[in-house]
């Protein structure tokens, strides 16, 4: 007879205390901020503290995987809780800051109106959304880590939360002028639900990775997928120029009013040495893929060893390229003359800039059809003449590109971690059954949350635009992600697909969530381009 065991002893109400303290403590920061005023720690500062806590907590939890220590586990757990506290505090303080920012403008112009407080809720752009998304992942992690046997999940989910905050850092925390259509009570409901659902999906993704690892999926197979992701990132950044021209060109900013986000210039400037190093990293990743394929399909052990060497070298090349990128982006000396030299060597960049400007002006098909390349070039040249001297480089010009490079780096790093004492690592992970159960639970939550997201979005769209569903790219992205989780749950309930199949579904589902969250905003046209 198969006997069952209690997973973690009886869970009492005390296990909820960290979560309660985190939320309660963050709420206390609001009156403190209002009492102390603008000299209180900034929301950006709190966000950086949250980022530091997430990274440290993840490191302690990872250490605990290899060298089990109750102390490391506790520091990891409470570090994560502290991170969630700073993360939520940052978001709440930003709410107060946004209110004071606009009220100051209104009062200075003699406007004595008092708009309602939800107008300022920090769900206005991708920065706000990223803060909330990371909070969703963080709070879901600490709530699940109530069970001591699940404490370890933070090692896999907190890096995701940290990467989201890194992205937020690169997006920049300037306040936007809120489009009136967003001034609706549906915004906190709809976007808040999105943030929490995305956060839970991130945790589901982390659990799926743990499951695959525990289930004996070879690290080399994981390395192939992470390397494919890394190569995809390298191939698409800088408008596909890395593999086609061996150069990396970064976007440029033109200053805006004080306190407002600078404008993006329609030109990109080459950053020295970054392109060639990225190409080397890409080649090494490709080499690792080939070697691991040889190992997996021909059981060639030598290829396995070579593949691991390639992967380590690729990791070094990725670090070097990011280092060069950061140094290059901080070098704002003679930007105009460097750009001028680049444009002289390749005047077609004027035409591209002109086309981008025309696109931004939303000209009609007829007007665009009448424009010649020479006119586009003239537009580009005129822009450069007018604004070339004020253009500057910043890491914030390409938030998604920098964050994607960092994500690819973290992906490689995790594969290197996994390849070290793999069997020991597998032993430390919770049982397959409990991971599968947790994956199912988090997928259910994400699925229900995404359903709520679609419904509240449709109702809001019906209230604001007069149509509940218009197949806007963000709507469709969210629908596709939801359908993927529907596939996950249906195959599980009706066909008994669990374990690995569910894990693959969870990974694909989260990739689609990320595509909806970032890809749609940065790559596709639509009504949600602000966030």
């Amino acid at each position: 007879m198969q006997e069952i065991e209690r997973l973690d002893g009886k869970m009492t109400w005390k296990s909820w205390l960290p979560g309660i303290f985190v939320i309660g403590g963050s709420l206390l920061m609001v009156p403190l901020r209002m009492q102390i005023g603008p000299s209180f720690v900034s929301d950006g500062g709190l966000m950086m503290l949250a980022l530091a806590c997430y990274i440290l907590a993840a490191l302690f939890l990872l250490t605990n995987l290899y060298a089990p220590s109750t102390m490391a586990e506790k520091i990891g757990f409470f570090g994560a809780a502290l991170g969630v506290f700073f993360n939520l505090s940052s978001w709440l303080v930003r709410w107060v800051n946004a209110y004071e920012h606009e009220i100051t403008i209104m009062r200075e112009s003699g406007n004595m109106e008092n708009p309602w407080m939800f107008r300022y809720i920090p769900f206005a752009n991708l920065y706000d959304m990223s803060l909330a998304f990371a909070f969703g992942a963080g709070i879901a992690t600490i709530l699940l880590a109530r069970r001591p046997s699940f404490r370890i999940i933070g090692a896999f989910t907190l890096p995701v939360a940290a990467l989201i905050l890194v992205l937020a850092r690169f997006i920049g925390d300037e306040f936007i002028d809120l489009p009136p259509v967003l001034d609706s009570y549906w915004r906190p409901i709809h976007v808040g639900d999105a943030a929490l659902s995305y956060g839970v999906a991130a945790v589901c993704f982390g659990v799926a990775i743990m499951y695959l690892l525990k289930d004996g999926v070879k690290v080399e197979a994981m390395a192939i997928w992470s390397s494919i992701f890394g190569i995809s990132v390298l191939a698409t950044i800088s408008k596909f120029s890395v593999f086609t021209e061996f150069v990396y060109r970064a976007g440029l900013f033109v200053p805006n009013e004080i306190g407002k986000k600078p404008f993006s210039a329609p030109f990109r400037l080459e950053i020295p040495f970054v392109g060639p190093v990225l190409v080397v990293a890409g080649l090494l990743l490709a080499g690792a893929i080939v070697a691991f394929l040889l190992y997996l399909y021909q059981e060639n052990l030598k290829a396995k060893t070579i593949g691991h060497y390639f992967l380590r070298l690729a990791f070094v090349a990725q670090i070097v390229s990011i280092g060069l990128l950061v140094v290059g982006m901080n070098d704002n000396a003679a930007v105009a003359s460097r750009l001028q030299a680049q444009l002289n060597a390749d005047p077609s960049q004027y035409v591209i800039a002109g086309q981008q400007m025309a696109d931004n002006q939303q000209l009609t098909t007829q007007e665009l059809a009448q424009m010649t390349p020479r006119q586009f070039e003239a537009m580009g040249r005129a822009y450069f003449q007018g604004s070339g001297d004020s253009m500057f480089l910043s890491l914030n010009t390409n938030p998604v590109e920098v964050a994607s490079l960092l994500t690819a780096l973290v992906g490689t790093m995790f594969i290197l971690f996994f390849s070290f004492r793999t069997e020991r690592l597998r032993e430390r992970l919770p049982s397959l059954e409990s991971l599968d159960g947790l994956m199912y639970k988090t997928a259910c939550l994400a699925f229900a949350g995404l359903a709520m997201l679609l419904i509240t979005g449709a109702i809001w769209a019906n209230e604001s635009w007069g149509r509940p569903w218009g197949f806007d790219s963000k709507e469709t992205g969210a629908l596709v992600a939801w359908l993927t989780y529907a596939g996950f749950l249906h195959t599980r309930i009706a066909r008994g697909w669990s374990g690995r199949s569910s894990a693959y579904f969870a990974i694909v589902g989260f990739m689609l969530v990320i595509f909806t969250y970032l890809g749609v905003s940065y790559l596709l046209k639509g009504l949600h381009s602000y966030a």
């Binding site: 199912y440 509940p468 249906h490």
Partner: protein, 520 residues
């Protein structure tokens, strides 16, 4: 001929019958495999629609022109520019709905059985094969007391216990572990059964009902309604709106007659900085005041604001855009008597009238934000910005003639013709509330409120049903009590749940503990 022989002969030897085509088709249409396949196709088509800019999306013009002729031809032929309204997308949605309906019908009897025919008894062997199972060692051999403990434990966990006495027969077992059919044993046992959340077995069907409500409502809304817009300028009235139809890069409009007429009586733009521009970035809200004149239902005055649409007889009016040429909603002006004396100030609304203390009547006629004299010498505006604002007034002095005067915001020299005194006064614009020339309202016609039903009832119902399905479960617990050959009590406890077995395990262990030890 014995009956047995007769029966044998009467049965013709036939070929093995294959399943009828209709059954096969229905089985296929109701299968989960087909449903998941359709979901995958839906995902692929939706991704295509996401990556290829759709013809109703802003920016389609520039995207369309950037395509090669071959791309335009292929994408156009395949319907990729309007994929969500293509015939195959609609067929797919229809098939998916059919799949949901048929799958629900197919599986409903099994689910219903859980509700009406609970499994009250079970053998010890069957219970031993359940996911949560335990053989309990009891501290008493009193069967009545054990059953009593079990029922109390079940009740304490929200289950209504059902006690059944079961008599079973089984064959003996020989020395080699094989069944010995010559030995028959009769066993008497007591089975206590309890369950919670049995209605959860129907959760999937409730989800499907709301999903179909959503699909159907949305479909009805699309088939019976249309989108339109109408331009609203204060003082103007209309009983027509313009229906919009997209055809690739062309947007066609057709006039549609309303069963009532509307007059725009006021438009307002609430600004963050009232001294700033009338851009979206400086706007808190737009408001349009309409006077509805309906031959069937009379007159009423209504407001349409951002995020606060107005619904009337199946038509919903929304704020869509503005004609961003600066105007003055309410203006204040100063009139300085030509013959000397103290200046008089007055305020007047757009299209409104006021009068001065001496009886001079002033009608607020026009507003130019960036005054310029046109080539034909007529007043015009150079741009929509408030660079050189002027209010044009029609002034009628007591007993005098109606005169058109210009009240500029900036001070003008006396020798300038437009700045000269007219109708007995020198006029100056002192203050004005910024507002655009016109608002454009978008209109959604939905005669049956199908979108509302679809998204509020279907949508929220779906979310609630999903929460019910995934966060609750049907839990069943059995306790099998039997005395063995030595007279010792054998208690086997087992439980199953349709989902979240891990959470049930915790509960299961609590129940086992409560049964093993006598509760005070």
């Amino acid at each position: 001929m014995s009956t047995a022989e007769e029966t044998f002969k009467q049965q013709p030897v036939t070929k093995r019958r294959t399943q009828p085509l209709l059954n096969k088709s229905l089985d296929f249409l109701s299968s989960v495999k087909f449903g998941v396949f359709q979901l995958c196709v839906l995902v692929v088509l939706s991704i295509i629609g996401m990556l290829i800019v759709q013809q109703n999306v802003q920016g389609f013009d520039s995207y369309y022109i950037s395509l090669t002729p071959a791309e335009k031809l292929v994408f156009g032929y395949l319907g990729f520019f309007d994929i969500y309204h293509s015939w195959y997308y609609n067929v797919l949605l229809l098939l998916l709905s059919l799949n949901i309906v048929l799958a629900s019908i197919d599986r409903f009897p099994t689910a219903w059985k859980y509700l009406v025919e609970p499994k009250l008894t079970a053998t010890r062997e069957w219970l031993a094969n359940q996911k949560s199972t335990a053989a309990l060692t009891m501290d008493t051999s009193d069967e009545t007391e054990v059953v009593d403990r079990i029922t109390k434990a079940f009740e304490a966990h929200g289950m209504k216990p059902v006690v059944t006495q079961a008599n079973t027969m089984e064959y003996g077992v020989d020395d080699q572990g094989r069944k010995d059919f010559s030995v028959v044993k009769n066993r008497t046992s007591t089975v206590v059964f309890g369950q919670t959340g049995r209605i959860n077995r129907l959760g999937a069907y409730i989800v499907h009902v709301f999903l179909l409500t959503l699909f159907l409502g949305h479909f009805v809304s699309l088939q019976t309604g249309f989108d339109a817009d109408v331009r609203m300028i204060p003082g103007a009235s209309t009983d027509e709106i313009q229906m919009i139809q997209f055809d690739l890069d062309t947007k066609e409009k057709f006039n549609v007659k309303l069963p009532f007429s509307m007059e725009c009586t006021d438009i307002q733009q609430r600004l963050i900085d009232p001294t700033g521009s009338i851009d979206v970035s400086n706007t808190l809200d737009w408001r349009t005041e309409l006077k509805i004149d309906d031959p069937d239902y009379g007159q009423q005055v209504v407001d349409v604001s951002m995020n606060k649409p107005f619904s009337y007889r199946g038509y919903r009016f929304f704020q869509a855009q503005t004609i961003p040429v600066g105007h003055g909603r309410i203006i204040s002006f100063e009139a300085t008597p030509q013959n000397g004396g103290e200046p008089v100030t007055a305020t007047v609304k757009r299209n409104g009238t006021t009068s001065l203390p001496d009886g001079t009547t002033i009608e607020y006629s026009e507003f130019m934000p960036d005054f310029i004299l046109g080539p034909d010498g007529r007043a015009d505006t150079k741009s929509g910005d408030y660079n050189n604002p002027v209010a044009i007034l029609n002034v009628t002095p007591p007993g005098g003639e109606r005169t058109r005067v210009f009240a500029f915001a900036q001070k003008l020299a006396d020798n300038m013709p437009v700045g000269a005194a007219k109708a007995g006064y020198k006029w100056r614009l002192t203050e004005f509330e910024k507002t655009p020339l016109a608002h454009v309202l978008s209109i959604k016609y939905d005669p049956y409120d199908a979108a509302f039903i679809a998204w509020y009832i279907g949508g929220f119902g779906l979310c609630g049903a999903l929460a019910f399905v995934f966060f609750f479960s049907h839990r069943r617990v059995w306790a099998h009590v039997e005395k063995d050959e030595n007279g010792d009590l054998q208690v086997t406890l087992a439980a199953d749940a349709n989902r979240n077995q891990i959470a049930l395990n915790d509960k299961f262990l609590e129940i086992a503990e409560e049964i093993k030890t006598k509760q005070e």
